[in-house]
């Protein structure tokens, strides 16, 4: 059996979605901006997809939802264009975000800092969420934008978006949320909360990779990131990616049409998996699961290094993820783990398991079994569980720590 539990990284494209996309590659391939019938042949399908996307997040007809190539583009667009519109060509000079945003927000903020923008990176609490009052206290007259993720890719923890939205509305500050881990996983109702911009991406909810979108409240002004033809009313140039738009629309409908039911099913499997795994000694899961996306577990297993654990899971045909990035050049501890105030010791032991609506009970049972075996094997090797103490003087010295 092979089990894919890395759905926060990407998901399987639903075969129904693929099927819906197929006619728009070799049959109805016209450019929708052309006047001839080849071009207009796909208009019906695009309109349907637009309806599906608006419905899925309850956007108002007065709002814009602009298709992009991915959520990274959407995030870059908001940050860079707010910079252009309100900082370069305005009186503002400050952006508020969090320490635990996705790299497409953090790296863009770092880039803007180099251009002279002041950026405040808010800390998160032991639940891995930012507190609304913290956001409130850091907004100044100079703040152009607040950018806070809806839910965390690492922990699945959900931020108080409604409260933050109210604060931003009251203070007249633009509010953007990277909703990549929220759309399709939990209800997102953009008429119930105040958000100026949200970014999301199809491949996180069983749509194709290579298409995302930016929601723009009330069709408000925001300079384009990509200039060119006048597609999507000039807001984002580039020939419309018809098959992917069709796929995204359907994927979004499938993910959200009975979202409470779907969530309950995934949550039941996730909770069972979590309950079984925390029976292992010296483990903990980040964040209260009532305030977490229903598919995510970030579990720390003392004495078991994250990449080593991934290796053993991979040997058992289980795909999971670690934030500890032993593989990367800056072999840093999981920043989210550190941000939530976890001991440094545990920051290298995080394993993220993320389910989808396609995850089966059998897969969960298999995972529980294999996970426990892997922990037992690696703890048997682990120095953290060794019994014979070092020779006097052989203990780790302060100077050796790096």
């Amino acid at each position: 059996m092979q089990v894919y539990l890395d759905n926060n990284a990407t998901t399987m494209c639903d075969p129904l979605v693929v099927e819906a996309m197929l006619p728009y590659f070799s049959e109805l391939y016209g450019n929708p901006n052309s006047l001839h019938k080849f071009g207009t042949a796909s208009h019906g399908a695009i309109s349907k997809a637009i309806d599906q996307v608006y419905t899925a997040i309850n956007a108002a007809d007065s709002d814009d939802i602009i298709f992009t190539s991915c959520a990274t583009e959407s995030n870059n667009w908001v940050l860079q264009s707010v910079f252009t519109d309100h900082i370069v060509n305005g009186e503002k000079n400050h952006i508020v975000t969090t320490e635990v945003e996705h790299p497409s927000v953090l790296a863009t903020c770092k880039f803007l800092e180099e251009q002279g923008v002041k950026v405040t990176y808010l800390p998160v609490n032991d639940q891995g969420t930012v507190e609304a009052h913290t956001v409130n206290s850091f907004i100044t007259d100079k703040t152009a934008l607040v950018s806070i993720m809806w839910a965390s890719n690492e922990t699945g923890m959900i931020n108080p978006i409604a409260e933050i939205g109210e604060i931003c509305k009251e203070k007249g500050v633009l509010f953007h949320s990277d909703a990549v881990q929220a759309v399709g996983k939990i209800p997102v109702d953009l008429q119930a909360v105040h958000v100026d911009f949200i970014s999301f991406s199809a491949h996180k909810f069983h749509g194709p990779k290579g298409i995302g979108a930016l929601y723009i409240k009330d069709s408000q002004a925001l300079s384009p990131l990509l200039h060119g033809g006048e597609q999507m009313n000039g807001r984002r140039s580039g020939t419309l990616n018809v098959p992917f738009i069709v796929g995204m629309g359907l994927a979004m409908e499938l993910a959200t049409k009975e979202i409470e039911k779907t969530m309950a099913k995934i949550r039941a499997k996730r909770d069972h998996l979590e309950d079984e795994l925390v029976k292992l000694s010296d483990t903990f899961v980040v964040g209260n699961r009532d305030n977490r996306t229903p598919n995510t577990i970030l579990i720390s297993i003392r004495g078991v290094e994250g990449e080593g654990m991934l290796w053993d899971l991979n040997n058992g045909q289980i795909g999971a993820s670690t934030g500890s990035a032993c593989a990367s050049e800056d072999l840093e501890a999981n920043t989210v783990m550190l941000a939530i105030g976890a001991d440094n010791e545990l920051a290298h032991t995080g394993i993220r398991l993320s389910l989808s609506r396609f995850t089966t009970d059998e897969e969960i049972e298999y995972t529980i079994n294999h996970f426990k075996k892997a922990v037992a094997r690696l703890r048997a090797i682990s120095s953290s569980f060794a019994k014979q103490q070092p020779t006097k003087g052989g203990e780790v010295q302060e100077s050796e720590l790096h």
Binding site: S324, A327, E329, Q388, P390, E400, H402
Partner: protein, 326 residues
């Protein structure tokens, strides 16, 4: 970046079969216990290096025959990724049968070589080379404990890049000999900085005492100073390469010659001179001077004195010199 780097390597696919095999089934994983080792009349040494909070930790066990200093058995425990476990396993394997004095010569490079499937293909991708460094560190620590000496006593030189074991002295020498100007060149010549990259500049995976960027800057500065000093020496020695000097150096050189040979006589007569400019044409190096004090009105200024100045400078600096009073 180029075509080959667009996708990026798959980290685990770059491991040798040996790394994979030992990660899955380490041969020397386990513990040695004080009581049992003592019963056999041997000495137990247990040394730790690293910590969970750093992302990797290793504990090394040696059972040593005190008569011969020979390592009879060795085990390890490790908190780390696959390459850390495989490196630790090979490390213990390399230790067994050696004396402590021999074992202390095992480096991380030996560990990595022992993990290769074929001699010329690295066992681990560059960013994982670092995992083998801990093996080297913990061996030194165990040996120091057994021999009752400081760990530092095993280090004969300052190692800047631990992955490739390149010393400060080597780096300085290679930079100077090959006139290296960039970090990339240093990596090409020495392999330093080509692995975990911590030693390149601050902010990498671990803090280092020395960074390549600083070593490069310092060595380049030293080289520049040496060059200037060489020029100054040449000028003091009579300036055999006067024509290649910078303008400032030329002025200084001329001044030095004047000071040494001419000025005292001018001053004795209540005069002096100053250098106004030096201009180079195809044929001559024209040195423009101005007489000061009594010299400015002295009749020999344009004849005998001028001849004396010019011939001295010609002799000491360059035969192409022409002195023009203005």
């Amino acid at each position: 970046m180029a075509k080959a780097d667009i996708l990026g390597d798959s980290l685990w696919d770059a491991y040798s079969d040996k790394v994979t095999t030992l990660m899955n089934n380490p041969l020397h994983q386990g513990e040695l216990f004080q009581g049992e080792v003592e019963k056999r009349g041997h000495t137990l040494i247990v040394a730790d290096f690293g910590a969970e909070s750093c992302g990797d930790a290793v504990r090394l066990y040696w059972e040593i025959d005190p008569e011969t200093d020979k390592i009879i058995d060795s085990k390890f425990k490790s908190f780390g990724c696959g390459t850390a476990i495989a490196s630790s396993d090979v490390m213990t394997e390399l230790c067994i049968g050696k004396t402590v004095q021999e074992a202390v010569k095992i480096t991380n490079i030996d560990v990595e070589l022992a993990l290769r499937d074929t001699p010329d293909v690295p066992a681990v991708p560059p960013q994982k080379m670092h995992c083998s460094v801990m093996a080297y560190d913990v061996i030194k620590k165990a040996a120091a404990l057994y021999m009752g000496v400081e760990v530092e006593s095993f280090e004969e030189e300052i190692i800047v890049c631990e992955c490739a074991r390149v010393s400060l002295g080597t780096l300085q020498e290679v930079i100077k000999l090959n006139d290296l100007k960039t970090i990339e060149e240093i990596t090409d010549y020495t392999k330093a900085g080509g692995f975990c990259k911590s030693c390149i500049k601050p902010g990498g995976h671990e803090a280092r005492e020395y960074y390549l960027v600083d070593i490069l800057a310092d060595t380049r500065r030293e080289m520049d100073e040496e060059k200037m000093k060489a020029a100054a020496d040449a000028q003091a020695a009579g300036g055999s390469n006067f024509e290649e000097m910078t303008l400032v150096q030329q002025i200084k050189a001329v001044d030095a010659i004047i000071d040494e040979n001419v000025r005292q006589f001018l001053i004795m007569d209540g005069g002096d001179m100053e250098i106004i400019d030096i201009k180079k044409s195809d044929e001559y190096i024209d040195i423009y001077i101005r007489y000061l004090g009594a010299c400015s009105s002295c009749s020999t200024s344009a004849t005998g004195t001028l001849y004396a100045i010019e011939s001295t400078l010609k002799e000491k600096l360059s035969s192409n010199i022409r002195v023009l009073p203005i």
